[in-house]
């Protein structure tokens, strides 16, 4: 029943048939990345549209200041950490952590960040240290701000529930890859009356954040948010390159739908 690897419907010499358009698409998207990063580095930095969830972070940290209670931040759980498939979401979460750290340093609010992936632990520490330094208050960073919980998802979840219950944060911010812990954390945050902002690109968890948080970054919005806050040209260029990829998809889709009556040429092209 199975097809041979590279079973040839038609012989294209050294190229494996059925994968040729994949190769072309990969090359096109790669070219877009090179182009957009180069343009961004030359100063042509594209503008990223306004994201409501980001503005809300200021409000949340401000409220924590008024109430004199801490801000809880976590980037979620991801097997494999920085060398795994969730690395991009982790890095987006860390960019936002930098911003939250700066706000916290500015207002003098305590930040508690809980960590599940050991290899991100030094990054958490470094990012918060830099944020406090940037605000000129390197001594204000509490030594127990970064708390490693566990590499196991359930143990990490259980641990964070405990931390939220004990520390009673006024703001609960969660950006990164999330699994079943999403709803556990928002419920724990709700029990403490915290204002909650969350974002993830893990599709199975978006609904819980949308339903239970005050503000949500949906899917890829977290990457845009990360790039926006990092202000690094190459990161913003990457977001622009992703837009190019999506426009490529839109072109294929629209032309395919329009031309379908003429023998479905786009689908044939895709399958060469």
């Amino acid at each position: 029943m199975m097809y041979e690897m590279g079973q040839s419907r038609r012989d294209y010499g050294v190229l494996v048939s059925g994968r040729i358009f994949s190769l072309i698409s990969l090359i096109l998207i790669s070219a877009a990345v090179l182009l957009m990063i180069r343009r961004a580095k030359q100063g042509k930095v594209p503008r990223i549209r306004r994201l409501a969830g980001l503005d809300a972070i200021d409000e949340a940290v401000g409220r924590a200041t008024e109430m004199g209670r801490p801000v809880h931040y976590t980037i979620g759980w991801a097997s494999g950490g920085l060398s795994g498939s969730m690395a991009a979401q982790i890095l987006a979460g860390l960019s936002v952590l930098g911003y939250v750290g700066e706000l916290a340093a500015k207002y003098g609010v305590k930040v508690i960040t809980t960590v599940s992936q050991p290899d991100t632990l030094p990054l958490h520490e470094e990012i918060l240290r830099l944020a406090y330094q940037k605000q000129g208050r390197p001594d204000a960073l509490a030594p127990d701000s970064v708390r490693f919980i566990s590499i196991d998802l359930y143990a990490y979840s259980a641990g964070v529930l405990g931390e939220i219950e004990r520390e009673k944060p006024a703001a609960n911010i969660m950006i990164g890859p999330f699994w079943m812990e999403s709803l556990l954390f928002t419920e724990a945050g709700f029990r403490q009356g915290a204002i909650q902002i969350a974002g993830t690109a893990r599709t199975s968890q978006i609904p819980f954040f949308v339903a239970t948080c005050d503000y949500t970054l949906i899917g890829e919005e977290i990457f845009a948010a990360g790039a926006y806050l990092s202000k690094e040209p190459s990161q913003i260029g990457t977001i622009a390159a992703q837009d190019m990829g999506k426009i490529f998809a839109l072109i294929l889709l629209l032309s395919g739908l329009l031309l379908h009556a003429f023998g479905n040429p786009v689908t044939k092209l895709i399958n060469i």
Binding site: R47, I151, A155, I206, I218, G219, E221, L250, H260
Partner: protein, 211 residues
């Protein structure tokens, strides 16, 4: 006899841990913390045991009994990972990770372009010119995919002739995504209840024997 006793003790231990964990829904407490730490320790111990088994079967075994000496290199690379605990030598761990990243990234990319990009696009392309239920579904699917993709454009400014279509499509995209998230949420209630039902089945039938 002794076996029965071991099994009975096991059920009691499992039941107590279940209750300790459930106690969280009332309030965080020391019994819950006890269960939490047992669990972290158990999971880590299990990791080590499995790692040990796999290093033996996948690295050591082919070297000693099959003479595939090339795996010595993979064992060395594996050991190099642990250099990250020594700050000055952490760079050594970058070599094995570089290999993992290279293999993993390329595998993901070459699969994603086909399975998640082109195949998904191709199966969205359907005839929209014969009026029936199937065409209506195809239309809804195409509209949702297109408008949601537009919603996820971040650096494209809505201006000029594209201003109206981009603004509207993006809005429609967000609404259609919300319908989907609602449906996902609703579908999920079953999973959540499924887990607690299974725990209750354990407590009621296996522990208390109420059958």
């Amino acid at each position: 006899m002794a076996q029965d006793l071991v099994a009975t003790v096991g059920i009691w231990v499992a039941a107590l841990y279940t209750l300790f964990t459930f106690s969280y829904i009332y309030k965080e407490n020391p019994l819950y913390r006890f269960a939490e730490h047992t669990f972290v320790g158990a999971a880590a111990g299990h990791f080590v045991v499995i790692a040990f088994q796999n290093i033996l079967s996948k690295g050591w075994y082919p070297i000693v009994s099959k003479g595939e000496y090339v795996y010595i290199l993979s064992m060395i690379l594996g050991l190099m990972l642990f250099s990250r605990f020594v700050k000055k030598r952490a760079w050594i761990s970058h070599y094995p990770i570089a290999l993992l990243v290279g293999v993993g990234t390329a595998l993901a990319m070459r699969g994603a372009i086909q399975a998640e990009f082109l195949t998904q696009i191709a199966s969205t392309i359907a005839p929209l010119y014969t009026p029936n239920q199937k065409t209506f579904d195809s239309f809804v699917i195409a509209l949702t995919v297109i408008s949601a993709l537009v919603y996820f454009l971040f650096t494209i400014e809505a201006k000029g002739p594209l201003k109206v279509p981009i603004t509207y499509l993006s809005k429609i995209g967000r609404y259609l995504l919300m319908i989907g998230f609602g449906a996902q949420f609703g579908a999920t209630v079953m999973t959540r209840l499924g887990f607690v039902i299974s725990r209750f089945q354990f407590l009621l039938f296996e522990w208390l024997g109420l059958r």
